[in-house]
Symmetry: none
Subunit: 459 residues, 2 copies
C-alpha cells in the first residue's frame, strides 16, 4: 500500500468531500440553546449515517444532554481514538454576518478560497478532515491502515456536561493507545503544529455587597463604603508591579519549560510585534522577564473578563451602588490545582474586605492544565507525516487556551492526546463570519491520511 494513491484519490474527490461538509454545516447544531436540540440530534444522525457509509460500526449514544456519536473500524495494531465535536457556537450578533451562518458558501478571497459558515472551522470542518481521510483509505485499499475509533461530542461549546460520566461509563470501549484531537490550529499558514500543552482555567464570578441599597453619593459620599471601589482595589491587588500574581502559593506547581521545548519554541521565530500589532498593541503587558510565547503558553495569568457596577447608562447618576461584580479568570499551567487557586483567591478576598462589605460567589469553574509526555512514538510519527505534507516542518507548540477533553482523557482514561488541527488565526471561530480555508480542509485530509499511514506500523 502506498500513500500516493490515497492522496491522489483525495485530490480528485475534493469536490465531493466539500459537498459533504457543506451538507453538515447546514445543520444548525447550536448546543447552548435548547431551541436547537433537534438540530443537534440531526447532526449526530448525519455523522452516524456518513460513518456507516465508510464502513464504521457507528451509533448515536444517549446522554443527559445532546447525544454522542461513537464509531469503530477494524484494523491491525493498537487502537486510535479520534475526537471532534459536531456542535457549534451561537450566531449572535447575527447582523454582523455577511452571509447566513447556516447557508455555507465557498468564497474567493485575497488569500484563496474559504468555506464560510458557522462551524466551518470549529469544529465540523476539522473533524471532517479525518472522516474524509478514512474514506479515501477505504476507497483505495478497502481497509484502514490502523484500528480507528471515533468519538464525536455535541456539547463542547456548552461546557461538556455529559462528557465525564460518558467517558467513565464507556472507558473500556474508548480507551486507546492515544487520542487524536482535531480542534486546534496551524502554527502559521505554512507550519503545522502539534499542541503538547494546554493551559487550564479557573473562572470565578464574585459580587461585592456594601450598603443595603444604592445611596446618593452626595448624601453618603465620604462616609459610606463604595463596593465598586472595594472591588477595584481587590482586583488591582491581584498583580504586583512586575505582572506577577500575588495570591499566596499561586505559583505552586508551575515549572520552567524543558530545554527541548524552549529550543522548539525559539525555532518558531515567533513574531511578537506582528502578533501584537494585528490587534492594535505594541508591547507585552504580562510578567516581566518572560518571552512572549512563555507568557502565552507556559505561564499562568489572571484576567478580569467582565466588570459591572452602579449606573452604566448615558450621563451621570450620583449613586453609590450597593454592589459591584466581576468575572475573574485564571489560566493555569503545569500542576497548578484549580481548587487551590479558587480557595486562595477567596481567602485573599476575605482578608481584603472592609468590615461593611461582604462577598457573594455567583459562579465558579475550573480545570487543570494538560501537558503531553511526548514519550508516545505517535508524536514523532505525526510530526514526520505533517512535515511531508506542509511546506515547513511541523513543530511542537503550546496553546494558551484550554481544551478540557485532553485533560479528561488523561484523568479518566489514562490516555495521552495528540492535538493536531488546521485552523488559522483569522478563522473567526466563536465570532461572526467564521471560515475555514479550503486549503486547510484539503491539506488537512491529506495530513490525516499520511498520519494514519505512519501510525500503521506502531505496536
Amino acid at each position: 500500500m502506498t500513500i500516493r494513491a490515497v492522496l491522489d484519490h483525495i485530490d480528485s474527490n475534493l469536490p465531493k468531500s466539500l459537498a459533504r461538509l457543506l451538507e453538515l454545516l447546514r445543520i444548525e447544531s447550536i448546543s447552548t440553546d435548547p431551541a436547537f436540540k433537534d438540530q443537534c440530534i440531526k447532526a449526530a444522525d448525519w455523522l452516524v449515517s456518513d460513518l456507516k457509509s465508510i464502513g464504521f460500526q457507528a451509533e448515536k449514544r444517549k446522554t443527559a444532554g445532546h447525544p454522542m456519536v461513537v464509531a469503530h473500524h477494524e484494523g491491525t495494531g493498537p487502537q486510535f481514538l479520534f475526537y471532534g465535536h459536531y456542535d457549534v457556537q451561537p450566531i449572535d450578533p447575527i447582523k454582523l454576518w455577511n452571509s447566513p451562518p447556516f447557508l455555507p458558501t465557498v468564497e474567493n478571497t485575497n488569500n484563496g478560497q474559504v468555506i464560510r459558515g458557522r462551524g466551518s472551522s470549529d469544529d465540523k470542518g476539522q473533524l471532517m478532515t479525518f472522516v474524509e481521510a478514512c474514506r479515501a483509505w477505504k476507497s483505495v485499499y478497502k481497509k484502514l491502515p490502523a484500528k480507528v475509533s471515533i468519538l464525536f461530542e455535541g456539547e463542547e461549546e456548552s461546557g461538556s456536561p455529559s462528557l465525564i460520566p460518558f467517558l467513565k461509563n464507556n472507558s473500556a470501549e474508548l480507551k486507546s493507545s492515544i487520542a487524536l484531537i482535531c480542534d486546534t490550529g496551524l502554527y502559521d499558514n505554512d507550519t503545522p503544529g502539534i499542541v503538547t500543552s494546554l493551559r487550564g482555567t479557573v473562572g470565578i464570578e464574585l459580587e461585592i455587597i456594601g450598603p443595603n441599597k444604592d445611596l446618593h453619593s452626595g448624601k453618603y459620599g465620604g462616609l459610606s463604603t463604595n463596593p465598586i471601589r472595594v472591588l477595584n482595589k481587590i482586583l488591582t491587588g491581584l498583580h504586583d508591579d512586575n505582572g506577577k500574581i500575588t495570591l499566596p502559593g499561586f505559583y505552586d506547581g508551575v515549572s520552567e519549560i524543558s530545554d527541548e521545548l524552549r529550543k522548539q519554541w525559539e525555532s518558531l521565530s515567533f513574531n511578537e510585534t506582528k502578533f501584537l500589532n494585528d490587534v492594535g498593541l505594541s508591547e507585552p503587558a504580562g510578567e516581566k522577564g518572560r518571552t512572549a510565547l512563555e507568557m502565552l503558553w507556559a505561564r499562568p495569568t489572571c484576567d478580569v473578563n467582565g466588570i459591572s457596577g452602579g449606573y452604566q447608562g448615558e450621563g451621570f447618576k450620583t449613586v453609590i451602588a450597593s454592589k459591584a461584580s466581576a468575572k475573574v479568570s485564571f489560566r493555569l499551567v503545569g500542576k497548578q490545582d484549580p481548587k487551590k487557586v479558587v480557595s486562595n483567591f477567596k481567602e485573599y478576598v476575605q482578608k481584603s474586605l472592609p468590615l461593611d462589605c461582604s462577598v457573594n460567589y455567583v459562579a465558579e469553574k475550573g480545570s487543570k492544565a494538560t501537558e503531553m509526555s511526548l514519550s508516545h512514538p505517535a508524536f514523532e510519527k505525526a510530526r514526520d507525516a505533517l512535515s511531508q505534507e506542509w511546506s515547513k516542518p511541523a513543530k511542537f507548540i503550546g496553546s494558551g487556551g484550554s481544551i478540557p477533553i485532553a485533560g479528561y482523557f488523561k484523568e479518566i482514561l489514562d490516555m495521552d492526546s495528540m492535538l493536531i488541527g488546521f485552523g488559522r488565526h483569522d478563522d473567526q471561530i466563536h465570532s461572526p463570519n467564521e471560515k475555514y480555508d479550503l486549503e486547510s480542509f484539503h491539506k488537512g485530509i491529506r495530513s490525516w491520511a499520511r498520519i494514519l499511514n505512519e501510525l500503521s506500523d506502531l505496536e
Copy 2:
C-alpha cells in the same frame, strides 16, 4: 390677613393637593434619556397650566435642551424667586421597584403614609409644596403676601446644561432679593434645616481603550494589556490608605469649618451609628480623623458611580475586552476649582496609562461648592417660620449633595439662596422605591405658607 385661615385651608384641601402631585408624578420626565424628551415637555406644560390656574403669568421657555418654566405673580415688597426642578432620575434598576415608578401611590407604612414613586421627593413633591402654599394664599386672600417669581428647570438631573445661558439671558427678569430653593431635606423628622453650604461636584466619564477588538483570553491572556485591569488600577490609585485623595493639589481651597458652624453641628448630636445602620453599614469609610458630619458636609470626596467592561451576561466568556469605562465623581468644598480637579485628574490618568492604552473622555461636568453668607434677613425669618410649624427649632445645616443652582444664582445673578426642604433620609431619592412622606408634603406646604407670611414685611 392671618396665617391661620391659610393653614386651615391647606389642611382641608390636602386631598386635592395630593391628587395634583400624583398627576405630575405620572409624567415620566427623565431628563438624562432622550427617549423621554416628550415627557419632559409634558411636565413643563402641566406646570405652566397649573401655575396659570393659580393666577401666575406662566410660560414654557425654550432652551437647547428641556424647557424652563418661568412664572411671575404680582405682590408688594421685594421679589422672591422660587426654584425647583420637574425632571427626575432614571429608574434603573427597574426590577428593584416594588411598584411601577410612574404609577405613584399613597402607601400606609409603619412611619405613616408615604407617596411612592419616582420624583415624589426629588423634586416634584418638594416643588409642589411651594405651589400649593401659593394656591392656598390665593384661595383665602385672593393675593400673595409677597411678590413671587418661579423658575422650574427640566435638566437638574442631567447636569443643567441650559441653565447658565438661560440665567445670563434672563438675569434682569429673574434677579430677586433672595432665591428660595426646595430640593433639600429636614435635618431629622422633627427638625427642619436651612442648608447654608453645599458641596460642589465634578463628574467625569472615562473609557480606557486597549486592543482594537475583544480578544480571546486564552490566546492573548498574559501578553495583552487588559483595559479593565488598567481602569481598576487607575481608580484604586485615587485614594491613599487614610482615605485621602491622592491627586496633586486636590485639597487646594479646602478650609476647616468655622468655630460657629462647628458648634451648630455639634449641637445637632448627629447619630452616626443610626445613620449608617439605616443603610446596612456600621463604620465610617472615609477620611481618617474626621467627624461624620465633616465627612458629609465639609470634606471633598471621590467616588466611582458606575463601572462597565467586558462580558456581563450569565456564565463565563473568556474575553479580554477592548475597552472599559467608569463614571467618577468628586464632591467639592470651599474654594476648590472644578476645572482644576478635572485637569489634575486627566493628568493623573495620562501618567498612569500603559503604552498600549488610551483614554477617551465621554462626558464631564463640574460645579463649585456654595457657602451662604447668612446676612440676608430672610434667613432668620425663615428659621422662625419653620420653628413655628415643626416640633423642634430649625437649624442651619450643611449638605453633602450638590445643588449647583445656588452657586449659579450667586455667580450670575449675585443673589443668595435659602435652601429649605422637607425630604427625609430614607426617601431613597435616585434609588428604587423613592418616596415622600405625606407629612413632609403637608407640613411642607404649611411651612412655605408661613415663610411667605414672614417674608411679607421685608423691604
